[in-house]
């Protein structure tokens, strides 16, 4: 562990890496939790014109603290437009107006499929999770999808127990066969690194590793035989500006 690594924790690295993925001006449909933290951090740092859309009906929200929930009043108060929930799904998400869908996940598989429904059998679940929420259609309709979740063998599995939201199905070409308009998950940001789908197979491959994290640790936290990109990049550690902005955002909440 380098001196720099000691100055921030892996959750902060995850939030910063996720935030960096959002280009300025992009329209982002934001899930609550880690995606919302990352998106708001991006807006506070390199992407002031990021457009945040929340499924609660806030289009162009500009919260000055992290919203406590997807329906936090600060979203309505700062939004360009407040619309009904049916409208946000029908007029704003479904037609493909949104560049990036930013999702969390309980379980994610080798092909980026997401499970937020049940661990185990549907009728007799080991763990009953919250369910689909907006995710199935966010994953289908946004031009691309970013997923952010901490990496662990429980969370990163060969095949999800339940496909709540489609990533790349069972491999490249499945989205086209299903007629899903967006490109699906193009990036999975974790506390250890960044995974991206292989251009040929759509299997998630480790393409970037965070400063100070050994490759073996990432493999050990992945429930399938993780492939490592030939040119594995190193995530630059959080800058002073990024860390300060992130901590301020969290402190204000």
């Amino acid at each position: 562990m380098t001196g720099k690594y000691a100055e921030y924790d892996s959750d902060e690295m995850m939030a910063v890496a996720a935030a960096r993925a959002l280009a300025n001006g992009v329209r982002c449909f934001v899930g609550i939790g880690l995606p919302s933290t990352a998106a708001n951090l991006a807006r506070r740092t390199h992407a002031p014109d990021l457009v945040l859309i929340y499924e609660s009906g806030a289009v162009g929200a500009k919260p000055d603290r992290l919203p406590a929930s997807i329906g936090d009043g600060i979203l309505a108060e700062t939004a360009d437009a407040v619309v009904s929930v049916p409208e946000v799904f029908n007029y704003w998400l479904q037609p493909g107006r949104i560049d990036v869908g930013f999702l969390g996940a309980a379980q994610l598989d080798r092909f980026g499929n997401i499970n937020t429904t049940v661990i185990g059998d549907y009728a007799e679940p080991a763990v009953r999770l919250p369910g689909a929420g907006g995710a199935p259609e966010i994953a289908a309709s946004c031009r691309e999808v970013f997923v952010v979740l901490p990496q662990s063998r429980r969370g990163f599995v060969e095949k999800v127990d339940f496909v709540t939201s489609v990533g790349h199905g069972r491999g490249r070409g499945d989205r086209e066969r299903l007629g899903l308009p967006g490109a699906g998950p193009t990036m999975v940001v974790t506390d250890l690194g960044v995974l991206r789908p292989d251009p040929d197979t759509a299997e998630l491959v480790l393409t970037e590793i965070h400063e100070g994290v050994p490759v073996e640790r990432v493999r050990a936290a992945t429930g399938w035989d993780l492939r490592i990109a030939p040119e594995l990049a190193r995530t630059p550690p959080p800058t002073e500006e990024e860390l300060t902005a992130l901590r301020r955002l969290k402190a204000a909440s």
Partner: protein
């Protein structure tokens, strides 16, 4: 025209055993006090409908009011899971709970169809997911012009919808604003509706992003200040995030939950 009633009487008259009941509110304006009144009146065999069942549904389920839940996301927002919900799904306690689960887009469109007097709605949804294998209320439909395949979902028409709003006038016209969720659709889709409000005022003045439900589409209005607590009512009070956090340990344990029910819900009836 809406009748202005006390909450207890409104729930007594509008919510019946076996009903399909929707208490809507997307984080904002959740009709929590009305939910407690349903528990207090010991309604049974309800089919509970809501996009985002949270702690008031955990309470209704734990109290044994529900036999079925129609929903798209069930959790304690910002905190974690609903433990009474989980206990009912996994162990059938205090009663088995049948599930009918959709996505938000599907549920929202089911209410839209219900409000529109249509038997179904069409959306781009569910494709490739495991939801249609477990949820019988999702069917394919073909566009008669392009041949494209889409998803159809049936209308939701609750026997009774309950919402909370900022205010009503004395004639029973209702006004809400801020994040208005799917409340208008849920009321218009329902056979009967009850709106609890922060206050009854002589006259409704227009408000940006406001929704007005005319008295003649509402069955009953009850004045229930802080009726949405621990959720919030924009312009009246903030969300009580501590309450959501405090719910987690109460709900994890059946005994603690039952004590909570006795102390916080049933006692008020006496």
């Amino acid at each position: 025209m809406a009748e202005i009633l006390a909450l207890a009487e409104a729930v007594e008259r509008l919510v019946r055993d076996g009903d399909t009941v929707a208490l809507e509110g997307f984080t904002h304006l959740i009709p929590v006090r009305a939910g407690h009144e349903i528990i207090r009146r010991r309604r049974r065999d309800l089919t509970l409908v809501r996009m985002t069942p949270d702690i008031v549904y955990d309470q209704l389920i734990g109290a044994g009011c529900a036999r079925k839940l129609v929903f798209s996301w069930g959790g304690n927002p910002g905190v974690g899971s609903l433990h009474r919900f989980r206990d009912a799904v996994r162990h059938g306690w205090p009663a088995p709970l049948e599930l009918e689960e959709h996505s938000h887009a599907g549920m929202a469109n089911r209410y839209v169809a219900g409000a529109s007097g249509l038997p179904f709605a069409v959306l781009r949804g569910y494709t490739g997911t495991d939801l249609p294998r477990h949820t019988p209320t999702i069917e394919p439909i073909t566009c008669p012009f392009t041949g494209e395949r889409l998803a159809a979902v049936p209308a939701l028409n609750p026997d009774v919808t309950v919402i909370h709003a900022q205010r009503a006038d004395r004639a029973g016209n209702v006004q809400l604003w801020g994040l208005v969720g799917v409340q208008k659709e849920a009321v218009l889709a329902a056979r009967r509706s009850l709106v609890t409000v922060e206050e009854i005022v002589p006259e409704l003045t227009p408000v940006p992003d406001g929704v007005v439900l005319p008295s003649w589409v509402v069955t009953a209005v009850a004045e229930v200040p802080r009726g949405a607590h621990p959720s919030y009512a924009q312009g009246y009070y903030e969300r009580d995030n501590d309450y959501y956090a405090a719910w987690d340990p109460i709900s994890r344990d059946r005994d603690r939950f039952e004590r909570w029910l006795a102390d916080e819900v049933y006692r008020e009836a006496a």
